[in-house]
């Protein structure tokens, strides 16, 4: 038999699709190095971006995550920071510790879901009695996205979901963030109010606050740290600019407030302080110098404390508090409060292990299927094309997933195994029809047609059965439906016709 005969149009189509999938997956096993996963604060405003491939820091070549963490950890405040990466060189004097996390450069385009890469997943329900419109959810997602990005979490996915009663939910998945940080960032609706006594001077909206200084050492940073009774405390300070209206209000309110007694060091303040409230809670009380009394001032210096057992801890706490407050002031408040319905933090260690294990298990399953089919058919001419078809199906599912940007999670991988399982079933049907046809010398075409009636009927039923899984449970098992659907569709349209053609040719020989 000539090899050429094997390349029927159906086989050529399969090979062509495999080639397209190879392009979609774009494997690059020789890629190495580290890329920026999350970047925030000063580092981000200086131009370091998500996805930059790290070359060196302060002249030191960086090769592993451990190395990166130790070098970045050694950089404090007021030190020179020279960051060389694929994005170019960024150099500046730090006013805060660089907030950068890295990951190993991806060797292909297949994206991993949260339960394989590790991270935090939050499912939120708007805390309101009325129905929330789609527009409101879109706004909410915008604010949340902006808030998390401003805070320095850039590797994230937000989408809306709905439960069966029609209540809208928001699902956020963030790689490499801590549970506590995410919780605090999201639970705060972020309604900011600055009051003197009972009078509101300004609120956290663009109308009142025109500028918030963030990540700029000249107008924002940790100013002093000291010992306290319970350890240490640090004070953060950053500048904001008020609008003309808010400045006028400031003048109106302060002009009637009496001046207090002289304090140590000769400083004199007004009797009432400027109280800052976030979601109804007092965050900080700022004393107002007598010079500001009745003055239309637009520049306000916001300050607040951070505490900790050691100075370092207090410094970090102050930095975090400042970052949160700045983030909320810049991005504004959420249109409504949110209730956390589900908060998962997933270990990256476990996820990495699952990926390796899935490959291993998939391989074992393939071998098992091959052994059983060999026992049944006793022909390598049948078993080898079967193995090729199964491997092709896995590859095509991965290719399509990479192409549509679907993030593979555990249920998606289970879906791949399930799809390949149905694939094997269909190949057995085809083989049996072909063999039976051979026994009785029936028309080949007729045989294959019959086999495909069974295959299409089975396909149609499995297809419709999987559809309801799409949205159930906030779409958390959608991956199973997606990969299985891709797999069985590719199977009936591309791989199984090719398999039929190969087996037909090989057996008729």
């Amino acid at each position: 038999m000539k090899i050429k005969k094997l390349f029927s149009i159906r086989v050529i189509i399969l090979l062509f699709v495999l080639l397209l999938c190879l392009i979609a997956i774009n494997p690059n096993p020789y890629a190495s190095g580290l890329e920026v996963k999350n970047v925030g604060g000063e580092a981000a405003s200086q131009g370091i971006k998500h996805g930059d491939v790290v070359e060196s820091i302060n002249g030191e070549t960086i090769e592993s995550i451990e190395e990166f963490n130790s070098v970045i950890g050694s950089i404090g405040v007021n030190s020179t920071f020279i960051f060389r990466s694929s994005g170019g060189e960024v150099a500046y004097i730090t006013t805060q510790k660089p907030e950068i996390t890295v990951q190993i450069v991806r060797t292909n385009n297949i994206q991993k879901g949260l339960d394989l890469s590790g991270g935090t997943r939050v499912l939120l329900r708007p805390d309101v009695e009325r129905t929330v419109s789609d527009q409101e959810i879109t706004n909410l997602i915008d604010v949340l996205n902006n808030r998390l990005n401003t805070y320095g979490l850039s590797d994230l996915q937000i989408r809306s979901a709905k439960d069966r009663e029609g209540t809208k939910l928001v699902l956020i998945e963030i790689a490499g963030a801590s549970r506590q940080e995410v919780k605090e960032l999201i639970e705060q609706q972020g309604e900011f109010e600055a009051k003197i006594g009972n009078d509101t001077v300004f609120v956290g909206s663009e109308k009142d606050i025109t500028f918030v200084c963030k990540d700029d050492g000249t107008c924002s940073g940790i100013r002093n740290c000291d010992e306290s009774a319970n350890g240490a405390f640090c004070t953060f300070e950053f500048q904001i600019s008020l609008s003309g209206d808010a400045a006028k209000r400031h003048a109106e309110i302060t002009k009637d407030i009496p001046i207090g007694a002289e304090e140590d060091g000769g400083r004199v303040y007004l009797e009432l302080p400027l109280d800052l409230y976030l979601d109804g809670q007092l965050v900080s009380s700022l004393q107002i110098s007598e010079g500001l009394k009745g003055l239309e001032t637009t520049a306000i210096l916001i300050s607040g404390p951070g505490n900790g057992a050691t100075q370092e801890a207090a410094y970090d706490d102050a930095l975090k508090e400042m970052n949160r407050l700045q983030t909320v002031l810049i991005t504004g408040s959420l249109p409504f409060g949110l209730e956390i319905e589900k908060l998962d933090s997933i270990s990256p260690l476990l996820g990495g292990n699952f990926v390796k294990n899935a490959f291993f298990v998939g391989f074992l399953a393939l071998i098992t299927v091959s052994i059983i089919t060999f026992i049944r058919f006793r022909k390598l001419k049948i078993v080898l094309p079967m193995m090729f078809t199964m491997a092709s199906e896995v590859f095509i599912i991965l290719g399509v997933a990479a192409f549509i940007g679907w993030r593979l999670d555990l249920v998606s991988i289970a879906g791949i195994i399930a799809a390949v399982g149905t694939g094997v079933d269909d190949q057995i049907v085809i083989t049996d029809e072909v063999l039976r046809g051979q026994e009785r010398a029936y028309n080949w075409k007729q045989r294959i047609k019959r086999a495909f009636f069974i295959i299409f009927a089975a396909y149609a039923t499995t297809f419709v059965a999987l559809l309801p899984l799409w949205n159930a449970g906030a779409g958390l098992v959608r991956g199973f439906a997606i990969t299985t659907l891709i797999g069985i569709t590719v199977g009936v349209l591309i791989t199984r016709p090719a398999f039929a053609s190969i087996v037909e040719k090989l057996l008729s020989d």
Binding site: S345, A358, V361, I413, T462, G473
Partner: protein
């Protein structure tokens, strides 16, 4: 007596086996749901609660962890498992409890194990009970819708009531008996597990469609020959998939995987009864009545 003679003589009597299995399953599920409040025992992601995964240097007995958690949390609904196959020098454990706060579990673990648990070695998944219940209802609803859609498609394909009903009933049989087995094995179902049930329906229908098509549509040879041919193909299908699922179940480290593969493997075994003891009998009776074929 050959298998053919035996079958032709007893195919009606053989129907008793699936009927008995089905009735027993229904009875068992009724008793189970009276005792547990539902036909399935749900895991914390479907009823609300906390699942905590942690890594520590020392080795602790599962019973020990369970007992101090039960004592300190005042709850008996606690599950403790080992993490297998992790590439780490540390020991990994998973603890599941419902009706408690994440922070409480953390402090109880820290106090009893004398370790500090941080964001680096403790990972918590917390689901509100309202959401968990909602998810469960949605998944069950999805299962029901999937069942109905599948039935409609089968009816469209075959356009005759009794063979279609046989397929639909066979899928129902598979689901009911598999759910009974899930309860019997003490599996606490997750959303992924329910997705696996949906897939069982798919696999179940595959073998039934093969059988029905061979018997009803491709009418070559006697009914026995057609059934035998379909069974040969169908059983090969089931055995290969079962083998793959069993191997996958044994060697998987992920609990999500293990549950899905186990459920699919159970469903495949159940389906053999449904397809070859029940569906064949119904089809044979149908063909005899309608076409007077033997």
């Amino acid at each position: 007596m050959s298998l053919e003679e035996f079958y032709n003589k007893n195919y009606k009597k053989l129907l008793v086996i699936p009927i008995v299995v089905f009735v027993l399953s229904i009875v068992y599920l009724t008793i189970f749901s009276l005792n547990h409040g539902d036909i399935l025992e749900k895991d914390v992601s479907l009823k609300g609660g906390v699942s905590a995964t942690f890594y520590i240097d020392k080795e602790v007995g599962l019973e020990e962890i369970k007992s101090f958690l039960e004592k300190d949390l005042g709850s008996s609904d606690i599950f403790v498992r080992n993490l297998v196959g992790i590439e780490s020098a540390q020991n990994g454990y998973i603890v599941e409890a419902s009706g408690v706060e994440a922070d409480t579990i953390k402090s109880v673990l820290e106090r009893n194990l004398y370790v500090e648990l941080t964001e680096e070695n403790l990972f918590i998944e917390e689901t509100g009970s309202r959401l968990g219940e909602g998810f469960y209802r949605e998944m069950i609803f999805a299962l029901v819708i999937a069942f109905v859609l599948m039935g409609v498609v089968v009816l469209i394909i075959y356009r005759s009531l009794i063979p279609s009903m046989a397929i639909v009933f066979s899928a129902l049989f598979d689901i009911v008996v598999t759910v009974a087995l899930i309860d019997l094995f003490g599996i606490r179902i997750s959303a992924a597990g329910i997705a696996a049930l949906v897939l069982i329906m798919g696999y179940s229908v595959d073998t039934d469609i093969l059988l029905t098509t061979r018997v009803l549509k491709i009418r070559e040879g006697g009914i026995w020959d057609r059934i035998r041919g379909a069974a040969k193909t169908g059983l090969t299908m089931s055995v290969t998939t079962f083998g793959a699922m069993l191997v996958a179940f044994i060697f998987s480290t992920s609990l999500v995987f293990r549950q899905m593969f186990l459920i699919i493997a159970l469903g495949l075994v159940v389906d053999v009864i449904a397809t070859y003891l029940m569906n064949t009998g119904i089809l044979k009776m149908y063909m005899r009545r309608k076409y007077n074929e033997n």
